[in-house]
Subunit: 339 residues, 2 copies
DNA sequence: GTTAGCACTCAACTCTTTCGAGTGCTAATA
DNA sequence: TATTAGCACTCGAAAGAGTTGAGTGCTAAC
């Protein structure tokens, strides 16, 4: 439907705008070496592209700026997959070659490398705890009345929580209880733990523990009360470098959304497998409607367990960012596969 | 040296400026109910206060603004200790009455409540790990080749790290090794662990482990490589609400300092016992020289183990903030005492 | 179909004016 | 002698006018 010349001009404008953040005029385009048409011709094409909704003007005599529809078209049809630059390549390899063996470490490093390379804000949703299974429960006594409960999952994730041992519970009973639970619950998906805990405790009530309700309450509280916090954010201050965020009020509203871990988690959790791009208004959260969010998922045993994302202005370096995310999600998936 | 009227006027100006962030003129002061002098009189006093260095003008015909020397004098001589408002009182009690039993939880909640109540940025330096002692080392095998090492301190702090079990080390040997280490190292201050680890390993080299160097390297790596990260920050976005930080460049430079955990840790670590106030240029870090930093320390068994701090503009609500910090550090100290 | 030419638009910048909240100084007052 | 009224003065902030320049759309010629 669009002529090749129109496509070409659209591409040039978007590419240019991504670099400069300035409206692009017909003369500037015509001066480019690859371009042989006169400014007037380009103006005509631009007028058409504008009436089709791909371009916008900031005021009646300004140069053109891509509209969200323009970005969407660009992303869907014009994007050339590019190879990572040697520098990007090297930086990422460097991170993944240092033999990390812990989920959190891998994620933390990934967040950092992503935001450093792109100057955008990177957000990673860590593996959902409920996709993992219990490896072991441990109770370590700190004093007569306090103890730490430690829960280790098959992915090496460690949850821990201190608690006061209630007077009603005999420490020896507690220990026995934990031993039994370990025997019976290893391999159980974390998400099923509360139910299974209830079942097991009920079944052994008479033998070991006098007051199952209390014991359950405390164990559950100690191990499962707070859903762990698995959002990692890097490079928040990078947003301040973008000219579209020179307004303090804008930054403030954006930051307050990023700070809400539940909101971010639910956004990242609802992403489909693979790369996904939300541009401006396509984002449901109003505060993010000046931004683009690019997400990629990573997997363990074929199952999607988390999401990595980049949040930046709408004029993102889409192709580079996509390559980076693809590479990183692959590397993460690969790293986790070996475990 | 200053007349009581001068003191009074200084106090009124600073109090007012703290509220409004606007230069204060003579007429505005004279209009106050508590004030019976004419604007002219006040102007004379203000001129004197300015030549003494306690006040400044933003331009030659502007109202007066406190200088850093003025704030310093105010803080040292004019500050009235005020009781916490019922609301503040209640909020803090609410946090500490919910029976928290874990260091991190206490600190996280404190950071949040501080920044919420004040609208400043709050920073807490958690208990130094090296001030604590080893309670237990645990190794939990995840698979044939991977394991999590867990280190629990007497304060309930849990450090953990996954690692690949090197081929050179027999899993059974590893277990024996850990048992022996537990027997010998419980109660050892964490800071001495690397040395003691070396010693113990050397002494038992022939009996259990073939290659002590390797075992040491891995254990040390697993347990002690990365100093844990014990800076907690809350309410960073609050800074955006202060009129003195309406400039993006300023915010950016401030944020990048706050992000540097080592810098912040070393600032907080070097604070003396009790409440301490650094105003503007008194801060060593240039990026913080538009701010005031108020710190308070908290203790465990009489020993100072951490610092809580508030970072805000120089025109802080000093008396309220001091009361809050005093109350909070007391509550923290009290909470930790019971453990 | 393309392009040169031209009138037109509008943000950004500069310059000027006006306004008012503030000052310092002097002379009158209690 | 300390206080105050009065007044000339200062300067930032806001509002308005003029200029510039990068851009446009449209028309007519190539």
């Amino acid at each position: 439907m669009l002529s090749t010349r129109q496509l070409f001009i659209l591409q040039v404008i978007i590419d240019e705008f991504i670099q400069t953040a300035q409206p692009i005029g017909s003369r500037a385009i015509s001066k480019k070496d690859e371009v042989s048409f006169s400014p007037a011709t380009i103006r005509n094409e631009m007028a058409d592209l504008e009436s089709l909704g791909f371009l916008e003007k900031t005021h009646s005599s300004s140069g053109r700026v891509p509209s969200e529809k323009g970005y969407r078209y660009y992303v869907d049809h014009l994007l050339m997959p590019i190879d990572l630059s040697p520098r990007d390549e090297q930086t990422i390899s460097g991170v993944f070659n240092q033999g990390m063996v812990e989920f959190e470490q891998v994620i933390q490093n990934s967040v950092n490398v992503l935001s450093d390379l792109t100057n955008y804000t990177s957000i990673i949703l860590g593996p959902e705890v409920y996709a993992t299974t219990l490896k072991q429960i441990q109770i370590i006594h700190l004093s007569k009345t306090t103890a730490v409960a430690i829960l280790v999952t098959n992915t090496g994730h460690v949850e821990h929580r201190s608690f006061t041992i209630p007077k009603e519970i005999n420490p020896l009973d507690l220990e026995k209880l934990v031993n039994i639970l370990n025997e019976r619950l290893i391999g159980v998906p974390i998400i099923q733990l509360p139910n299974r805990l209830q079942m097991e405790l009920t079944s052994i009530i008479d033998h070991y523990v006098k007051d199952v309700a209390t014991a359950f309450k405390y164990l559950k509280g100690a191990l499962l009360d707070q859903q762990p916090n698995n959002i990692y954010v890097g490079g928040i201050t990078n947003m301040l470098l973008q000219p579209e965020f020179s307004d303090v009020a804008k930054i403030h509203s954006l930051y307050s959304v990023i700070e809400q871990e539940e909101t971010m988690a639910s956004i990242l959790r609802s992403q489909d497998q693979g790369i996904h791009i939300s541009i401006g208004q396509e984002n449901k959260v109003t505060e993010m409607q000046d931004c683009s969010l690019i997400t990629a998922t990573y997997t363990l045993k074929g199952q999607q367990i988390g999401t990595i994302a980049l949040l930046g202005p709408k004029r993102m370096e889409y192709s580079r960012v996509i390559s980076l995310l693809e590479r990183l999600s692959n590397d993460m998936t690969k790293t986790f596969k070996n475990w």
